[in-house]
Amino acid sequence: MKENYPQDMHQPETISWHRKHLLDIDDFSISEYDLVIKTAGVMGGILSRPIKKVPALRGRTIATLFYEPSTRTRSSFELAAKYLSADVVNLAASSSSITKGESLIDTLHTLEAMGVEIIIMRHPLAGACHLAARHAKSSIINAGDGGHAHPTQALLDMYTILKHKPAIAGLNIVILGDSRHSRVARSNIWGLTAMGASVTLCGPRSLLPIGLTPRHPLYSKIKLETDILRALEGADVVMALRMQKERQAAGLIPDIREYVSQFRLTSDRLAVAKPDALVMHPGPVNEDIEISFEVASGSQSLITEQVSNGLAVRMAVLYLISGGSKE
């Protein structure tokens, strides 16, 4: 492994990054969070230039492999790769090809045989990226696996908060909605508690995590709350989650109307949070369901900023993954 830079150029300080894959966020160290955030800051600077391109990943090939439809996250990764001058190929396998027996492992090997070095994967089943990583020579970046994790979302949410608050430590953060099934919630819980925030999960009890015991490593740092006003009191950040229609179909809630009446984030409800509380949403927002139209377009809403921050964070992740020591 070539550690030293050639003596013909200035020797740079090299990154301390040892992940071949980005599957999870639950074992990130504080210094890893810091590195991602600092690098994302530099990448953000590139996004404000007239020429939004740097040659850092020139000649590298990156594939997106999405088994779940997603225009937003996929294009975010695709653009991030292109801004770093990488070549990108997009594979949209439908969920049906999973059941048709075209194995994930075969698809992986096919892509690698074509020279793909980084695969950004989204899959409806938890653990799919772990399965891929066991068989991959390339690097796997988890863009969402079932209800388990969405690491880059949590990183961009963290980065967004830090653009508006001096620190995450000590913040009172509310995650509003179906946190039981949400990979965005799971990853954010790991990230935010690691940085010292306390997290309140608010929603109907059937949509909050079931089966937690005091032996859960984060037990003391999360609170479950079914009353929205109690949850929002004094909150510094409110993250609303997308309400999936399938939850009603699964009978977990009687109907969306009732969810809205109890848990929609309206201006009245937001008023019990701190006056400078931040409002966030991973997108896409269901118009007027999770968040009232007023709040979504209001001055406290960072929803649009999250999108551009997502691009910077994904550029940072691609840069770090492409060049860490592969342990």
């Binding site: 070539k2 030293n4 013909d8 800051g41 740097v54 770090l320 492409s322």
Partner: protein, 182 residues
């Protein structure tokens, strides 16, 4: 092997003074100049040159910082990427005269990367290069416009620049490299 000190603190002070005078002499319109220090030691050097020019001519030349890691020609062929740091230029560079400032000019690859980075930021009317030390062994057709000292060196020697802002003292030394066992 003991390093040989080529420039001491006083030498460096005089050299930077002389370079500032050269810059003043060869640029009719000082107000078109932006000094951009290449990370890392080019930055304090650029600051000192700008301070000298201010002292000699009472002209305030803006100073910027350039991180060219993303433009290196050895990315991807090494296993560890460099830490990227910020680039900050005080104003647009279109139509300006950019003086890139670096401590050592060797193969020319850093300067090439820095120029590519600059050109993605805008269209300067000219780019000039100011270096404290030129140690020869160019691998690209690059030459410095302002040179502090020419120090011929062998390829297996290392020329080390230390500046107070980054290293606690001002000194330029040369020594033979021991084969690194890393």
């Amino acid at each position: 092997m003991e390093p040989t000190i080529v420039l001491n603190r006083e030498d460096i002070r005089r050299t930077l003074g002389r370079m500032a005078h050269e810059i003043i002499e060869t640029n009719k319109d000082l107000l078109k100049i932006i000094m951009i220090g290449m990370r890392t030691r080019g930055v304090p050097m650029a600051n000192r040159l700008a301070a000298n020019i201010k002292a000699f001519e009472n002209a305030q030349i803006p100073v910027g910082v350039l991180d060219f890691s993303l433009y290196r020609d050895d990315l991807g062929s090494r296993d560890l990427q460099p830490v990227v740091k910020s680039t900050s230029i005080p104003s647009g560079i279109d139509g300006k005269i950019i003086i890139l400032v670096d401590d050592v000019l060797f193969t020319g690859r850093s300067s090439r990367a820095a120029m590519d980075a600059l050109i993605d930021l805008g269209r300067p009317s000219a780019i000039k290069l100011a270096v404290l030390v030129d140690r020869g062994h160019r691998e690209l057709p690059i030459r410095a416009d302002y040179v502090g000292k020419n120090i011929p060196s062998a390829r297996d020697e290392e020329v080390q620049v230390k500046l107070t802002e980054t290293d606690g003292l001002d000194e330029v030394s040369i020594y033979k490299k021991i084969e690194s066992g890393k």
